[in-house]
């Protein structure tokens, strides 16, 4: 099938524009482009029936909630209109902007997000390069199989494993006491939360994260390595000047995607790991929103926070995409 000559388009985002080498099929497209909607519907109505349910799904479950964000600007009373009762402007936004606790969770989110990005983004690249240096295909296969495994675990399981290993009689404390230290109740100490969270992210995501890079590595032309070897380049220079530039488009796309999901930092995992004793570092915007919005039923206030968070995410991904396109010519769309 289509492989070998393939360029890595990275994650299939922004699928609208087909890659240039498929332009061979363009003539019918031009023809279709001019058709009126009535003609299109008459000729392809069966195809359009395929669209009905999925589009309905997107409208109801994706776009209706987006419209529902309107209650961030309206007073919402449970049992009354689902779109709120009366306009209150930016009342709820001012409410959280003036709230000290909001800023605590905001900075917790930023710090946790940055730490995760700084550590969990580069490690898969390193691991992929290391796997790529292996000669034994068998050993490579085994390492891959093992390192992908945590990806398939439910977050509930991951959180359970983390809590057990960091518990007072857990493995980490067994090591600490073996070296003469005192056992620490890690999950009750705010200082440890970030380390534990990021470590568990590394454990769960790094192996699986290598897949796209390994795919990209196979598309690098072997002749480049041959030529560089004749020019006297050593392994390190080859890695630096051929391998890394070769996987750069993949790196950029994944970086942009990571930046886009940066504010949402593993909501489910944080929710499962945190407890009131470690809120000072372990509470993030999404978990705070869950507590005030769902548990305390302050729907409008929670929605305002959620909208704020989503907008930051959107701005981040657009900015990163724009910057990447300008600087290295790789982008999502």
């Amino acid at each position: 099938m289509a492989q070998g000559t393939g360029t890595v388009e990275a994650v299939p985002v922004g699928g609208g524009a087909p890659p240039p080498h498929r332009s061979g099929e363009s003539p019918p497209q031009v023809l279709h482009g001019r058709r009126s909607w009535r003609q299109a519907l008459r000729k392809d109505w069966r195809l359009y029936t395929f669209l009905v349910l999925p589009v309905l799904f997107f409208v109801i479950f994706k776009y209706l909630p987006m419209a529902g964000n309107i209650i961030a600007f309206r007073r919402f009373r449970p049992g009354s209109s689902v779109f709120g009762d009366e306009w209150v402007g930016f009342y709820y936004f001012e409410m959280f902007i003036q709230n000290q606790q909001f800023w605590t969770v905001f900075w917790n989110t930023v710090i946790l997000g940055l730490l995760t990005l700084a550590i969990c983004f580069p490690l898969p690249i390193v691991l992929a390069l290391m796997l790529n240096e292996l000669r034994s295909r068998r050993f490579k296969k085994i390492v891959q199989t093992i390192s992908y495994l945590p990806h398939f675990m439910s977050i509930v399981i991951v959180a359970g494993l983390v809590l057990q290993i960091t518990s007072v009689p857990g493995t980490v404390n067994q090591i600490v006491t073996a070296f003469g230290g005192d056992a620490v109740a890690f999950m009750q100490q705010p200082d440890w939360f970030r380390t534990i969270y990021v470590s568990s992210e590394v454990w769960q995501t790094v192996g699986w994260g290598t897949i796209l890079y390994l795919a990209a590595l196979t598309t690098i032309d072997d002749q480049l390595y041959e030529a560089s070897r004749i020019d006297g380049a050593n392994r390190w220079q080859q890695t630096w000047h051929i391998t890394l530039p070769g996987i750069r488009p993949t790196m950029m796309v994944l970086l942009i995607l990571n930046i886009g999901s940066f504010m949402a930092v593993g909501f489910e995992k944080v929710l499962l790991l945190q407890n009131p004793l470690i809120y000072s570092t372990g509470d993030v915007i999404s978990t705070y929103l869950y507590r005030v919005g769902i548990q305390s039923a302050q729907f409008s206030y929670g929605t305002a926070i959620g909208l704020f968070e989503a907008l930051i995410g959107l701005v981040l991904v657009l900015t990163a995409n724009f910057a990447s396109r300008r600087l290295v010519g790789a982008s999502l769309w």
Binding site: G16, L47, R135, Y148, G160, S167, M187, I211, N275
Partner: protein, 308 residues
């Protein structure tokens, strides 16, 4: 040779100067590389080994911090307790039901949508792709979703709240779309000439020839539904309806949250063994199937990433 090529051609070997040998530095690197990767494997597997050890140990040894790789004070009682809990079985059955129903719905919607989007003659194609892709970067947020599902649609305490709102994953949709785009058009054209309608082409030509991608996507959806817990946690109040992940979550929360009930320290100790057993029983199906299905997942990700 430094670079391994699958089929080393003779010319290349001949022109290769015999002086090209591995430098000592590179040999050291290779050894270190293997060692580091072995450590990575050990660290990745350790939590599971520890889990199994704890599941078969006595609570006393766990609480004393003496269980790591091997079970201490071999104990099967807890398995009997957990397996004897009818709620556990009810919740386990729920997980199976939700996974099957959710996967069927997801596949039906994703396949038809992806196929339609892959057809170039579809007028408004860019627009329809756009409405899907946009939701990857902006979404309605937790509370509007909650109001919609729980209040507006009245799905609280119903299976539909768990399986429907997450039915289409845009990532999977795009992977499938790019697969269908690479489908040889000649086949479909020939079928159309033979008088098959779009439905006929889709069900009798395209789907039977897409078994590999369909299997991959089914597995993607099934695993994510099997592992999911938050929708159930959010929308279900009745214990009998929980999936096993929520059962497990409640067990862990009850055992580890300080200040919940009296004798919290004791609860942690008792919990550790029961938790391990429950966790083990929950991951068991995935661990058992994993070696066989792993390659489908990898190929699924590749499908989406490498276009040629």
């Amino acid at each position: 040779m430094v670079i391994e090529t699958p089929t080393p051609d003779l010319a290349a070997v001949r022109t290769e100067p015999s002086t090209i040998r591995e430098s000592t530095g590179y040999r050291t690197f290779r050894v270190a590389n293997v060692v580091v990767l072995l450590v990575v494997c050990a660290v990745t597997l350790y939590p599971f080994v520890n889990l199994v050890a704890k599941a078969f140990s006595s609570e006393g040894f766990i609480a004393a911090g003496e269980v790591n790789v091997l079970p201490r004070g071999f104990n099967l009682e807890t398995f009997k307790v957990v397996l004897g809990d009818s709620l556990f079985w009810t919740n386990y059955r729920n997980t199976v039901v939700y996974t099957v129903v959710g996967t069927v719905i997801s596949m039906a919607l994703t396949t038809t949508f992806a196929y339609a989007l892959s057809r170039r003659e579809l007028k408004g194609r860019t627009f329809f792709i756009g409405i899907a892709v946009f939701t990857m970067f902006f979404s309605g947020g937790l509370i509007p979703n909650y109001i919609l599902v729980a209040d507006l649609l009245g799905m609280r305490n119903s299976m539909w709240a768990i399986v429907v709102p997450t039915a289409i994953s845009v990532f999977n949709l795009l992977v499938m779309k790019s697969f269908f785009e690479n489908f040889p058009t000649e086949l479909e054209e020939a079928a159309a000439i033979d008088g098959l309608t779009t439905y006929g082409i889709f069900f009798r030509i395209v789907l039977p020839l897409s078994k590999a991608v369909l299997a991959t996507m089914t597995l993607f959806y099934a695993v994510s539904q099997w592992n999911s817990w938050f929708s159930a946690f959010l929308y279900l109040d009745q214990k009998e309806m929980f999936p096993v992940t929520v059962y497990l979550r409640n067990l862990i929360a009850a055992a580890t949250n300080p200040g919940v009930g009296s004798g919290a320290a004791e609860a942690v100790q008792i919990g550790a063994n029961i938790q391990s057993v429950t966790m083990l029983l929950t991951v068991l199906p995935i661990i058992c199937f994993y070696p066989f299905i792993q390659r489908y997942f990898v190929s699924g990700v590749m499908l989406g990433s490498v276009k040629g």
